[in-house]
C-alpha cells in the first residue's frame, strides 16, 4: 500500500485523489457534515468580520451615490484608476473557477473534482464584486440600465462598436453561465443533503432546490452530457471574457494600452491570479473544515504548477511588451514603458515584477511547491502582484499623457481605498455563507474518481454474500490494485 501514503505526483505513478476515506459514505459524511453540524464560533467571528467589511463597502457606495464620483481620487488626466483596477482584479480571480470547472474537465483532469465547487463559487462572488465597479462608476446608479440596449423613444442605442458595450455582454453572459454551471453541479449534492435532512424545513428547502433529483441513470446520462456541453461553452467563454476586458484598453489608442499582446496576456494573468486565490482559500478551508483527505497536497501542488506556468507566461508578456515598445520605434510607446519602469510609479512596477514573476519561480522547487506555509505566502504575493499589474497598466499609462502640462500623479482618496477593501467584505461574506450552507466539495464527483467507483474493479471477488464487509475490505485490502488500475486510466487520459 505505498500509494496510500503517497500524496504527490511522481512520474509514472500517481497519488490517489481521495485519502483517508474508506468508502462512499465517508465522503458524504465529511462534506455534508460541514453543512449539517452546528455553526462554529470561529465561523461566526469570521463572518462578523466579513460583514463589517461589507458595511464599509455599502457606506462607501452610499457616499458615492450621494456625492458623485468626485469622492474618488480621479482627475482629468487619470480618469480611470482604482475602480477599473478593482474590476479587472476581481474578474481575473473569477477566471480560475471557470478554468478548473470547464477547461480541466475537458482535459479529463480528475483532480479538479474536489476543488471545482469552491472555485466556481469563488467565480460567482468575484464577478459580483467586479460588477459593482462599472455599475457605480456610471455615477448616477439609477441609470445603470442604460448600459443595456433597451428600446427608447429617441431611438438611441449604446454604441455597439465600443469595447465597453462588448464588456457588458461578456460580463453578464459570464455571470449567468457561471451561475447555471454551478447550479447544475450542485443539484445531485443538494439531493444528498435533502435525503439526509433531519428537519422538515431543511427537507423542503433543499428539496425544492434539488428539483426532485433521484440519481436515475437515464437522468445522469443527460446530465453528464449537459455538464460536458456547459464545460465546452464555458471554455471559449472564459477566454472571450478576459479578451474583451483587455479590449477595453487594447482597442484605445493610448500608448501602453494599444498592444495586440493584451488578450492572451490578460487571460494568462487572470488564470494566474485566480489560481493564487484558489490556493489561498483552499489552504484555509481544508484546515478549517478538515478536508485534508479530499483536498490533498497533490491538488495543491498541481495548482502551484499552474501558478508557475502562468506566472512565467505573464513574465514573458511583461518582457515582450517592453521589447516591442523599443522595437516598434514609436516614441510615445517607448516613453510610456520607460516611464513605467523608471518614472514616479516605478515602485508599483517593480512590486508587480517581484510578486508576479520572481516569487512564483520558487515553485520550481518541490519542497516549496508542497509546503503549505510557503504556498500560502506566495499565493498572497501573487494576489498583491496581480492587483499591481492592473494598476500599473492603467495608471502609469494615463498619468503622463501627450501634453506635459497635464501630467499628474494619482493618489487614491479614502473612498477609493474603502471601496476596494470593502469589496473583499462582499466576497468573503458570500464565500463564508457558501462554505456554511452548501456542500463545498462536489460530493458526487469525488465519489466518481474513487478507485471503488470503477465498475470493473475487483469484479471477480464479489461472489460471496457478505457485501457490507467486503465493501470496506475492498478499499483496505485490494485498494492497491484498484489504485493501479485507476492510475493507469488517468495516465491514458493525461496522454
Amino acid at each position: 500500500m505505498t500509494t496510500a501514503v503517497m500524496t504527490e505526483d511522481t512520474p509514472g505513478k500517481r497519488a490517489t485523489l481521495v485519502l483517508g476515506h474508506r468508502d462512499f459514505h465517508a465522503v458524504t459524511e465529511t462534506v455534508a457534515g460541514i453543512v449539517e453540524k452546528k455553526t462554529t464560533p470561529s465561523w461566526v467571528v469570521l463572518f462578523s468580520l466579513a460583514v463589517s467589511v461589507l458595511l464599509v463597502l455599502l457606506g462607501s457606495l452610499g457616499k458615492l451615490v450621494a456625492d458623485g464620483i468626485g469622492i474618488w481620487g480621479l482627475n482629468n488626466t487619470v480618469f480611470w484608476a482604482w475602480d477599473i483596477t478593482g474590476f479587472v482584479f476581481w474578474i481575473g480571480i473569477g477566471h480560475a473557477g471557470t478554468l478548473i470547472s470547464a477547461i480541466l474537465f475537458l482535459f479529463r483532469q480528475k483532480w479538479r473534482t474536489s476543488i471545482n465547487r469552491a472555485a466556481e463559487a469563488m467565480t460567482i462572488f468575484a464577478v459580483m464584486a467586479a460588477g459593482i465597479y462599472p455599475v457605480f462608476h456610471v455615477g448616477r446608479v439609477w441609470f445603470a440600465y442604460w448600459l443595456f440596449p433597451i428600446p427608447n423613444q429617441m431611438s438611441m442605442w449604446p454604441n455597439f462598436k465600443s469595447p465597453l458595450l462588448w464588456d457588458v455582454f461578456a460580463i453578464s453572459t459570464y455571470a449567468t453561465v457561471s451561475v447555471l454551471f454551478w447550479y447544475v453541479g450542485l443539484v445531485p449534492d443538494l439531493a444528498t443533503l435533502r435525503d439526509r435532512a433531519k428537519t422538515k424545513t431543511r427537507q423542503i428547502v433543499l428539496g425544492i432546490f434539488a428539483l426532485g433529483w433521484r440519481g436515475s441513470h437515464r437522468n445522469w446520462l443527460t446530465y453528464e452530457r449537459a455538464y460536458l456541453i456547459l464545460a465546452g461553452l464555458s471554455t471559449p467563454l472564459v477566454l472571450s471574457v478576459h479578451t474583451i476586458v483587455s479590449f477595453d484598453f487594447a482597442v484605445s489608442i493610448m500608448p501602453g494600452w494599444h498592444t495586440t499582446i493584451f488578450p492572451p496576456y490578460f487571460v494568462a494573468g487572470a488564470i494566474f491570479s485566480g489560481f493564487a486565490m484558489v490556493v489561498s482559500l483552499m489552504v484555509m478551508a481544508r484546515k478549517a473544515f478538515g478536508l485534508e483527505g479530499l483536498i490533498t497536497i497533490r491538488h495543491l501542488e498541481n495548482m502551484n504548477k499552474i501558478i508557475l506556468v502562468t506566472g512565467t507566461m505573464v513574465g514573458y508578456a511583461y518582457a515582450m511588451e517592453y521589447f516591442i515598445a523599443w522595437y516598434g520605434g514609436n516614441e510615445y510607446e517607448g516613453f510610456a514603458f520607460r516611464n513605467r519602469a523608471f518614472g514616479p510609479y516605478k515602485w508599483a512596477y517593480w512590486t508587480m515584477w517581484s510578486c508576479n514573476v520572481f516569487s512564483p519561480q520558487l515553485f520550481w522547487f518541490k519542497r516549496i511547491r508542497t509546503s503549505i506555509p510557503a504556498m500560502f505566502v506566495i499565493s498572497i504575493f501573487v494576489n498583491i502582484g496581480m492587483w499591481f499589474e492592473r494598476f500599473v497598466i492603467i495608471t502609469t499609462s494615463l498619468h503622463r499623457d501627450f501634453i506635459p502640462s497635464s501630467w499628474t500623479y494619482f493618489r487614491p482618496s479614502l473612498f477609493d481605498i474603502s471601496t476596494f477593501l470593502g469589496s473583499f467584505g462582499l466576497f468573503f461574506t458570500f464565500f463564508l455563507l457558501f462554505l456554511r450552507f452548501l456542500p463545498a466539495v462536489a460530493i458526487s464527483e469525488v465519489k466518481g474518481v474513487m478507485p471503488a467507483a470503477n465498475p470493473h474493479a475487483g469484479h471477480d471477488d464479489h461472489d460471496h454474500d457478505d457485501h457490507g464487509a467486503e465493501a470496506s475490505a475492498d478499499s483496505s485490502d485490494s485498494g492497491a490494485s484498484h489504485n493501479d488500475s485507476a492510475n493507469e486510466d488517468e495516465e491514458k487520459a493525461n496522454g
Partner: protein, 185 residues
C-alpha cells in the same frame, strides 16, 4: 426481506420492483443480466454516474446536443438581428465605414450565442429529465436516501412486458440485490 405493510396495497398500482447493491460493479452486472433477459423498462439510481452503465442497460445517447445547437443558432440570429437593427435605426458613421460593420459586432454575436446555448442546455437537461418532479414512486423505498449516498439501486418497472411481481423480485435477489421491494405509484 418482508413485504412492506401497507393497508391499501391492493388498491394501489405497482410501479416497480426495487433493490440495491453496494458496489457499482454488481449493479453493472445486474443491468447486463436484465438487458440480456429482455427487460426494457428498468433504471438505476446511483449516487454518481456509473460510467458504462448505459451500454449495460442498452440506452441510446442523450439527444441534448441538438437542443443546444438550435438554441445557439437562435442566439447568433438574435445577435445579428439586434446589431443590424440598432445600426440601421440610429447609424453611427465612423470613418465612413458601413452602418452594419459586422466585424465590430462579433463579440456581441459570440456572447449571445454562448448565452442562448447555455440556457438551452440548462432548461433542456431538466426538461429531458422531467425535473423538477418532487414526488416519485422510487422515493418510497425505505432505503432510498442511500441512493444519493452509497447504494446503487436497480428499479424494474411494472410497465415492462416481462414484469412479474414474484419472478422479477426473485431474479433481482438472485443477482444479489438487497431489500428487494415492490414500490407503489
Amino acid at each position: 426481506m418482508d413485504e412492506p405493510h401497507r393497508k391499501d396495497e391492493h388498491e394501489q398500482k405497482a410501479y416497480a420492483v426495487m433493490g440495491y447493491f453496494l458496489t457499482p460493479g454488481e449493479l453493472m452486472r445486474a443491468c447486463e443480466k436484465l438487458n440480456a433477459a429482455g427487460y426494457k423498462h428498468f433504471d438505476a439510481q446511483t449516487p454518481f454516474p456509473v460510467h458504462g452503465l448505459e451500454r449495460a442497460m442498452g440506452l441510446p445517447p442523450a439527444k441534448l446536443p441538438w437542443v443546444v445547437l438550435i438554441c445557439g443558432a437562435l442566439g447568433l440570429l438574435s445577435a445579428t438581428a439586434l446589431t443590424y437593427y440598432v445600426s440601421v435605426d440610429y447609424p453611427l458613421t465612423i470613418s465612413g465605414k458601413p452602418d452594419f460593420s459586422y466585424q465590430a459586432y462579433i463579440p456581441v454575436m459570440f456572447e449571445l450565442t454562448v448565452l442562448f446555448a447555455a440556457f438551452g442546455t440548462f432548461f433542456g437537461v431538466w426538461a429531458m429529465n422531467k425535473l423538477p418532479m418532487y414526488s416519485h414512486p422510487t422515493m418510497s423505498h425505505p432505503s432510498f436516501p442511500r441512493a444519493t449516498d452509497d447504494a446503487f439501486f436497480i428499479t424494474v418497472e411494472a410497465r415492462d412486458p416481462k414484469y412479474h411481481k414474484v419472478r422479477t423480485k426473485g431474479f433481482l435477489e438472485e443477482l444479489g440485490a438487497r431489500e428487494v421491494l415492490e414500490v407503489m405509484e
